[in-house]
Every structure is written in C-alpha cells, then in structure tokens.
Symmetry: C2
Subunit: 166 residues, 2 copies
DNA sequence: TATATACTTGACTGAAGTAGTAGGTTATTA
DNA sequence: TAATAACCTACTACTTCAGTCAAGTATATA
C-alpha cells in the first residue's frame, strides 16, 4: 500500500475540476497554475483518469477536461485506483499466500486495515469535498491569486506596449 | 504514506515474539524460519525495534530477543513507526505547506485519513492479536511445521551417522 | 486554409526507497 | 575455547516516483 503525490495530485486535480465545472472544459494549464502541479505530470495522470472513464476531454482551443459523471457519483477511492495506487495493505492482494504459500500471521490485520481505508475513501465523493467549508476557503484563495496573476499579466503587457512606443 | 514488507515483517516478527514469549529469549534464526523472513533483514529491523525500546536483547548462545513491555502495552502503530514507516497520508507532515507554501485543496482529506489509520492501528495491541482465533490457528500450523522440520533434521543426522559407520 | 491552441504519446532521467546479501566483530555460555 | 547469536557496516539489484523533453495529432477560429 502506498499513497504518494500521484494519488494526492489526482484527487486535487479532480476536485479543481469539480470546483470550476461551470466554466466549461478546464485546461490542464489552468489546473497546473492553480494547484502548483507540473503540467507534464498532470498530462500523465489525466491520461489514466480518462482511460478509467472519470473525465472526458474536449480538444482544440478553449478545450480541456470535464468530469464524466456527477460530482456525487465520483468517490476518492476511484480516483486513487485510476492512477494505479493501491489502497490494499496486504502483500498477497488478498490471496492468502503471503508466507511460503500459506496465510501469514498478520494476514487478517492487513485485510481489516484495507477494509477500513477503502471504506473511508469510498464514502467520500467529490460533491462531499466541494461542500466542505475549508475546501471552499482554499479554493477562494486560489481563485483570487489567479485573478491577481491575470491582472499582473495585463499590467506587464501595458508596460511592454509603452516601452515599445518610446 | 506507505506500508510495505518492512512494516509488515516487523509486526509479524513482534507477534511471533509475543506468541513464544514463555520460551525465554527467541533467536532471529527461529523467527526467520517460522515466518519465512530473511535473517539479515530481520537483524536490520530488530536494530530499530531495539533502539525504539520495544525489545531487549540477550547475547550469546541461548540468547535472542524478548519484548520490552507487556503485550497489552505494545500497539501495532508503534511497531510500524519504529521501522520508519510513516502512516501519515499528508505530503506536508501536517505542516499545511503542501501547495506553494500554503494549504492544498485536499489537505483536510489526508489529515482525516491519517487520523483514521492511526486510530485503527493504535487501537490494536499485540495482546489483542495473540487473542485472535485466526492468529492462533496460523501459529499452531507454523509451530507444527517447525517441529516436523526438527524431526527431519534428526533423521538426516541419523542417516549421516549410519553413513559414517558404513 | 493556415495557424494557434490544446490534448496525446513515448522515451528518458535523477533521486530515493525496498529488499535484500555479504562479511565481519563482539559478547556469552557450555 | 568452540559454538552461538547479537551487532554492525557496506554494498547491490531493482523498482517506483516525480518530472522533463520532444514530437506528434486533432480542432476551432480568423
């Protein structure tokens, strides 16, 4: 069992998608900026998310990704599964051949733990996350900063134009 | 967060110690045979378990390891901690600096998950494991096989002796 | 229809961790 | 003093992570 940036990034990106769904397709470049995740790395992750049927893509200018299902129908466990991170805590994958072909002493402990984790992550949908106050606050902060950055870019262009006129 | 053979082996070995505590110090060679874990690898793990004060050692012939505390006072979470496997699911270690120095969108999700896992593993002591029927069954099977192996070795010695006499 | 935009794919890489192996030294006891 | 078992150090093959780079392909707009 492992949970690394891979699964965390995937969930974060999917949540970003859920939060900005009303704007139409969201480009990975946008998510990359907002969530501070490498664009190329996001491309890899979304390739898997698309193959798993969690998102659909729209190509061409103005394109991007959108959720394939309602936010209430996508749970965190699915997203982590999609990017190939297993939440299984046993070494045998539940086959009970963990110690010289037979069940190891601690087999049931890991089985119980797996059930515990899976139950927890299965019970949380993107809709649940979107509804949380703390998530909304972070999202507001991130959107605010993105707007500032956009203004900065406009200002820079003005300076460049004025510089060109002189 | 990751849970690999390292943590699993450590818990299994500690449970083996708990199950055979009445025999006095248990050698790593015994555990290695019973649990099918590499002896050298066990040495590495027990070095950490000793440093963490979970086991004490007895050197010399007839020596080995024994639990430093009562089985009811040692929980699974401690053992996994001791061999340096973290059960923390956040990337920031709880520092909330996960996304460009600020809290990431999914911070609370990983914090909750960590609490969940830690609570589960903290609530299970070695005594709880020893008391489980499934654990006792596997232990009986392993002890039975160990006894058979011992008989086999005696038989081999006899053959060797007879061979030497001829 | 040219072109910018955006998604897609594959190969590659440095760093880190896993799961060991090998070969010693030191302490104890029979 | 020989055997036993803990203790210690160094090494290695392998895998995965996290990310980069480069070359594509598809599509909408001007």
């Amino acid at each position: 069992m492992r949970l690394t940036t891979k699964g965390r990034y995937a969930v974060t990106a999917m949540l970003d998608l859920a939060l900005h769904a009303e704007r139409g397709p969201i480009s990975l470049a946008d998510i990359s900026k907002r969530q501070d995740i490498s664009l190329s790395y996001l491309e890899q992750l979304f390739s898997r998310l698309r193959q798993s049927g969690l998102v659909s893509s729209v190509r061409g200018p103005g394109g991007g990704y959108r959720l394939a299902r309602d936010t209430a129908e996508i749970c965190v466990a699915e997203i982590i599964d999609a990017v190939n991170e297993s939440v299984d805590a046993t070494s045998c994958g539940g086959n009970s051949d963990c110690s010289a072909g037979e069940q190891c002493l601690t087999h049931y402990l890991w089985t119980d733990l797996s059930r515990q984790i899976h139950g927890f992550l299965n019970g949380i949908s993107l809709a649940d996350m979107v509804a949380r106050a703390d998530v909304q606050e972070v999202a507001r902060r991130q959107d605010g900063r993105a707007a500032e950055d956009a203004l900065d870019r406009v200002a820079e262009q003005k300076v460049a134009i004025i510089g060109g006129l002189q």
